[in-house]
Amino acid sequence: MTKSLIVFCPNPYSLYTNSVCELLIRRGYTIDAIVIKKFTITRFQNEFKRDGKRLLKKIWKKLVLRDTAYTGEAGSIVGFRKEKNLTIKNVEDFKKHGTNIVYCKSLNDAVVEETLKRYDEKLIIFTGGGIIRKNILDLAGDGIINCHMGILPRYKGMDLPEWCILENRFDQFGLTLHFMDSGIDTGKILQKVSIPLGNSSSIKSLRNRFEPVMVDSMVNTVENYLRGELEPQTQPTGENRQYFIVHKRLYEIVDKKIARHLGIKVKD
């Protein structure tokens, strides 16, 4: 039996969500539903509590500037989209491909539960939108695949590229495709993808290089899983270390450490 594909999405203009959906459709898959987390005052307040001023930058980049935020940066998601000729910029446009578009205040809402109950065999693709609670995990069919910006099981939590640099582990950048569970990045692992530092001379350019790899890795992992080529691997129980947001004073050091690693002279 064919599995229904449902996508969880942080905002309708997410380049990551739009790129993943368009590539999957191109490969012959149907996206049955896209569940979009609405931008509300409560969401802003909750995310501001977690991210502080960084949230304002994120909103400016993701919701205001959108693809113009990446102008001139090699290897970014915008360059990737151009190369692959990906044109859809608003998930509403997937309606013409038969996709059901659902809006919710939180991905744990009753409206999401109702949406999930409509599909028997299903796989959910997470492209952002916050923590997923048990009520949704229980209705997730095969599960919810997340692309995490760190190599699991070591790098759980937030700001992982920055933490690799602060720990002088320049060979540990990468992504892990895994099923979500009730813990923080503790679910079964499907695929790990290493990303070399290359010639990225700043954390911003390194992070921008992650995004196209995330799109590609998510699409490939979904396809390989649906073909039965991937066996989810349980994470070892001992690894319960978690990383949190990097303090601004350490963050200021990150670029200098990259420059030193690359042998670029640093101005004090």
Binding site: I245, V246, I253
Partner: protein
Amino acid sequence: MESLNKLIHENYDALSQSIELPILNYPYLFPKEAEELKALTNHTIDETQNLPAYKNFKQVNVNIISQIRLYIANDRVDENITQWCRKALRYIEVRYSSLKENEKKAGRKSEDTIKIFNQIMALFIEYYLKTSDIIYLNTALKVLDLSWIMPPSSKRPAYIATQTLYDLNRQILDKILYQIEHD
């Protein structure tokens, strides 16, 4: 640094009685004050009392944290000490935006809250210096950002050790960051 010296000299007797002061590696980082600091921090582990396992943040007090700091200073970092540090860090990171509110809810006096958070900042710095685990340095910096942990600039004996500790913590964090940046 001058104001710190002055604070130490003017209050030497009061400080020498306190269990709040920093222990580990401060003499190394502040060589000029090494002897005085070493004498001031010459406390020993109370072997008659077992360190309880971490249950929740409500049980945290100055005595417990200062004992943990002594264990770390004496190279006695066992699973219990590691768990204390790890769980205290997690509590602070996860509840960062509501720490003050939670202290009020827990019914702790403001004076105790200030002392405890200064102790915790010292604990994380010392744990970082012992293990090089930079996530503890990160959380110590976040604790320093909490404006309400700054001891009031009063001459009350109750705050002298906390003020000294706060100043030392602030300066040692600057020094560590400078070292990381230039290593």
